[in-house]
Assembly symmetry: C2
Homo-oligomer: 257 residues x 2
């Protein structure tokens, strides 16, 4: 079996139709596969660690494909890929992994971050990278609500309803933090979530629910009821995509060649 | 004499022709004065703390004008101003100062920050807010060179030549730091400069010169020679505008009403 080539990829999702290839839309996977086919002179099928939605960003997405043997040296290869994919899709690193390695199935942890800008003034530098909520948010209540989600649970309430039908919806949330931050000089709240894997729209529905708690529409303990209901309609709305970034994906150390 | 209204203003300079009003270009001052005239139903003349160039950003620009007495309450006023000026010019606060106060002449300190992204991979989220230099930079050498500029000096070498003719070019640099940072998840170098006032293009010429030292084109001590030459051609090139942000302007505490 051939070695696996592993690309680290960042993208600004603002003008893209998400990660997964689609016949007629501009997607991250579509751009990468077209660039790889041009450089390697053969069709290439890639796998991504996270299938982010339209408008969602990534800092540390991982994308794999089986080595063709035609790859030029890493530096020139990266330059060519970036010339063909950019400027809003950027390959930041290239590594090799053992045969059988998959960006998606070998991943043991994924970290997402979601930026919220609360208050009366719209974000400026963070405009394309945050959700603006004009009302103030109660951080303490949001933290208490977030705590209800820690550990292994059936997250069916936090899964886009159409994606949950007939699927196993148990996932493990290993860490969830709600922290005030300053980025580009602007004040924001960052929700940081680490888990083994995530359901479709899971992070955005969690954030949409946390913001309802932060606004005082629900108590912190409502989150526990929403979780236990195993019903999408029990949770809050789906937060908009532009606040979300796939931050990092973790793999067992022994995967790397 | 009337009280003075003080607006805190942030802007993304990418698509603007700088701060200062111009008859036919889209500028920050032009937008603010047009919005104020619409709301207050009278022509308004404003003064800004720093006349930033085209493409330069501001987080904490201050803009003043003489109160007309027709100002609505601060919240509604800010909302109206932002509806008319936005989305790339944002009024973040409104205060009153004593008669005679001027955003420009009452300022006792100005802080600018300049972001540089060194290395082979172009910045993504910082693309509009940083200068990408594909070569690596020697931080230690840059810091040593920066140290030569501390204190009161004739900065004629670091002033756009056309602006220096017949003018006093002595300024005081109170702090200058070259620090590695991570913003929006991307690694960058931030040059932070605090001084009483700055000459035209002074920060950008200082950064352009520091980068020449960082690249190894000149030694750190060359900066001292460049300063002492009092001649624009002795310093490095002017760094591009998009890396620069007017970060903060300081006034004596007793100015505020």
């Amino acid at each position: 079996m051939p070695d696996v080539i592993v690309l680290s990829v960042s993208y600004d999702g603002t003008d893209l139709s998400g990660f997964a290839r689609q016949p007629t839309s501009d997607t991250v996977q579509g751009r990468l596969e077209a660039a790889l086919a041009t450089i390697l002179r053969a069709p290439v099928e890639t796998v991504g660690a996270g299938r982010t939605d339209a408008g969602v960003h990534a800092l540390g997405q991982l994308v794999t494909y089986e080595a063709t043997g035609a790859e030029p040296d890493a530096r020139a290869f990266m330059r060519s890929l970036n010339a063909l994919c950019g400027p809003d899709v950027v390959v930041t690193g290239i590594r090799k992994a053992a045969p059988g390695f998959s960006a998606r199935f070998s991943a043991v942890g994924r970290e997402y971050r979601y930026r919220i800008v609360p208050g009366p003034v719209a974000p400026l530098f963070l405009k394309r990278y945050a959700w603006w909520t004009p009302t103030a948010l109660n951080l303490g209540a949001m933290r208490e609500a977030a705590g209800c989600l820690l550990g292994e649970h059936d997250f069916r309430s936090f899964c886009a309803a159409s994606s949950a039908i007939g699927k196993r919806t148990v996932r493990r949330v290993e860490a969830i933090e709600v922290v005030p931050a300053r980025e580009m000089g602007e004040h924001c709240i960052v929700v940081r979530i680490v888990g083994n894997a995530f359901l479709h729209s899971m992070v955005r529905i969690i954030v949409g629910s946390l913001v309802e708690v932060g606004r005082g529409k629900h108590s912190a303990l409502w989150m526990k009821d929403a979780l236990e209901a195993c019903d999408r309609s029990a949770a809050g709305p789906t937060a908009p995509p532009q606040g979300l970034t796939l931050w990092q994906v973790d793999y067992p150390e022994e995967c790397w060649l």
